[in-house]
Amino acid sequence: MGSADQTLDPGRFEMLRELDDGDGEFIGTIVREFEADARRQVAAMAQALAADDAPAFERAAHALKGAAANLGAESLAEMCERLQTLGRAGTIDAGAGLVGEVDTELGRVLDALRQVMAGV
C-alpha cells in the first residue's frame, strides 16, 4: 500500500525544486538526465543478467539506486538495493523477476515526475 506513496517522495522533489531558478530549466535537465541514465542502467542490468555477469549487474544496480534516491524515487531505490545485494552475492538469477519490476517502477516514477513537472 505504501509503495504508491514512495514512488516519488514529494519532500525530496520539493527540495530539488528549490534549487531551480523558477524557470524549470534545472528540474527539467535533472529529470531528463535521470531518465536517460535510468534506462541505460536497466538495459545494463538485463544485459548483465543474460551474460551472468554479477559484478556488472551490481554496478548497474548501484548506479540506478543512487540516481533514484537522488530524485526521491524511494521504492525504485529499495528495489535496486536488493538487486545490488544479489549482485554482490553472485546470485543474480534470483533477481530475474525483479529487473522487470524495476522497469515497471521506473515507468511509474517517470509518470509521477511528468505530473509534478507539469505543476512547476
Binding site: 525530496r12 527540495m15 530539488l16 528549490e18 534549487l19 534545472f26 535537465t29 535533472i30 538526465e33 535521470f34 536517460a36 541514465d37 554496478r59 548501484h62 548506479a63 539506486k65 543512487g66 540516481a67 534516491a69 537522488n70 530524485l71 526521491g72 538495493e81
Partner: protein
C-alpha cells in the same frame, strides 16, 4: 572557493553543482575519477566532493593521490558514499577524506560542509603563509648572525664555519690556500684621541677598502675589535703576500689622519700571512694556519707596523 565535483551520476552531480554555485563558489564538474585527477593536477582546487564508487579511479584512491601530491595548497575532501556501510566511511577517512556525506545528497548538508571546508582551507592558507614568513625570517636571522653590524663584513662565527668547510675540502682535494690577519695600527690610541665614533668610522672605511679589494674567491671577515681576516682560496702564500701588501698600501692611501700614529701620521695596518699548499709537511688545518698568521701579525707589529710579515719561515722551521 573552487569546488571540484566528481560523480558518474549526472543527476546527482547536477544537484551538488547547483548547491555549490548558489553559494557563490566556482564549480568544476567531472564524471569520473581520472578526469577529477587531471583537474586536481591542472588547477588549484580548494574542495573536492567525490563519489565513492566511480568507474576506474574510485573515491578512496583519489583521496590517496591528492594527499600524496607535493603541494603547499590543501584540498578539503568530502567523500560521498551510499547508505551502506560505516566500513566504507572509515576507509575513506583513512584514505585522506576530511568529511563524508551519504546519498541522496541533501543540499543543506552540502552547504554546511562547505562552511567547514572554507574555514579549514583558510586556516591551511594561513599556516602556509606563516611557514613561508618563518622560513624567510630564519634565512634573514642566519644572515644577520653571521654579519658584523658595523662593517657589514662576515663575522667571526662565519669565519669559523667557513674554515671548517675549507678544512674538509682541503682534505678531499688538497689545494693551496692562505690566511691573512690585518690589524689597525695604534687603534686604541686613535680611539682615545679622536673618540669611538670616529674609531667606528675608521673601521668602516678600512672594511670597505678590504671588501672592494679582495677577489670573488677570497673572503673577508671582521675577526675582532680592529682585526680583519682574509681567506685566500686556491692561492699560494706568495700570491697572498702580494695581495696583502697591495691592501696595506690601499689603507695607507686612504690617508685617514691618525694623530697617535708613530709611523706616517695616517691610519695603517699590519698584516700577518700564513698559508698551506700540497706537499707542505705542516698540518693543513685552517685553524692552525690562522694561528700561524696571528703569530706573524705580532711579528709585523714588533718590526715597526705598516708591513706584511709571513709565517712561512716559522712554519718550515717547526
Amino acid at each position: 572557493m573552487r569546488v571540484l565535483v566528481a560523480d558518474d551520476d549526472t543527476s546527482c552531480r547536477l544537484v551538488v553543482q547547483a548547491v555549490v554555485e548558489r553559494l557563490g563558489h566556482v564549480c568544476v564538474a567531472v564524471d569520473d575519477g581520472e578526469r577529477a585527477w587531471e583537474a586536481l593536477q591542472a588547477q588549484e582546487i580548494d574542495v573536492l566532493i567525490t563519489d565513492w564508487m566511480m568507474p576506474g579511479l574510485d573515491g578512496p584512491e583519489l583521496c590517496r593521490r591528492v594527499r600524496g601530491l607535493d603541494t603547499h595548497d590543501y584540498t578539503y575532501i568530502i567523500l560521498v558514499t551510499s547508505l551502506s556501510g560505516s566500513d566504507d566511511v572509515m576507509e575513506g577517512m583513512q584514505a585522506g577524506a576530511d568529511d563524508y556525506l551519504t546519498k541522496p545528497l541533501n543540499p543543506f548538508d552540502v552547504q554546511t560542509r562547505l562552511i567547514a571546508a572554507a574555514r579549514v582551507t583558510s586556516l591551511h592558507q594561513q599556516i602556509i603563509e606563516f611557514r613561508l614568513e618563518l622560513e624567510r625570517l630564519n634565512v634573514e636571522f642566519a644572515r644577520q648572525a653571521r654579519t658584523d653590524p658595523l662593517t657589514q663584513l662576515a663575522n667571526r662565527l662565519r669565519l669559523h664555519e667557513d674554515l671548517d668547510v675549507l678544512r674538509q675540502s682541503t682534505r678531499r682535494t688538497p689545494r693551496p690556500y692562505a690566511i691573512a690577519i690585518c690589524d689597525l695600527d695604534h687603534f686604541k690610541a686613535y680611539n682615545d684621541t679622536v673618540g669611538h665614533l670616529e674609531g667606528d668610522e675608521a673601521l668602516r672605511r678600512v672594511a670597505s677598502a678590504i671588501a672592494s679589494d679582495y677577489r670573488g674567491s677570497d673572503r673577508a671577515y671582521r675577526y675582532g675589535g680592529e682585526e680583519f681576516v682574509i681567506v685566500f682560496e686556491d692561492e699560494t702564500l706568495a700570491g697572498a703576500v702580494t695581495a696583502a701588501d697591495r691592501l696595506r698600501g690601499c689603507i695607507e692611501a686612504l690617508a685617514i689622519p691618525h694623530p697617535g700614529a708613530t709611523t706616517s701620521g695616517v691610519m695603517t695596518i699590519s698584516v700577518g700571512v700564513a698559508g698551506w699548499e700540497p706537499g707542505d709537511a705542516c698540518d693543513p688545518d685552517p685553524e692552525v694556519i690562522l694561528e700561524q698568521a696571528d703569530v706573524a701579525l705580532y711579528e709585523a707589529k714588533a718590526r715597526g707596523r705598516n708591513r706584511v710579515v709571513t709565517a712561512a719561515l716559522a712554519a718550515t722551521a717547526r
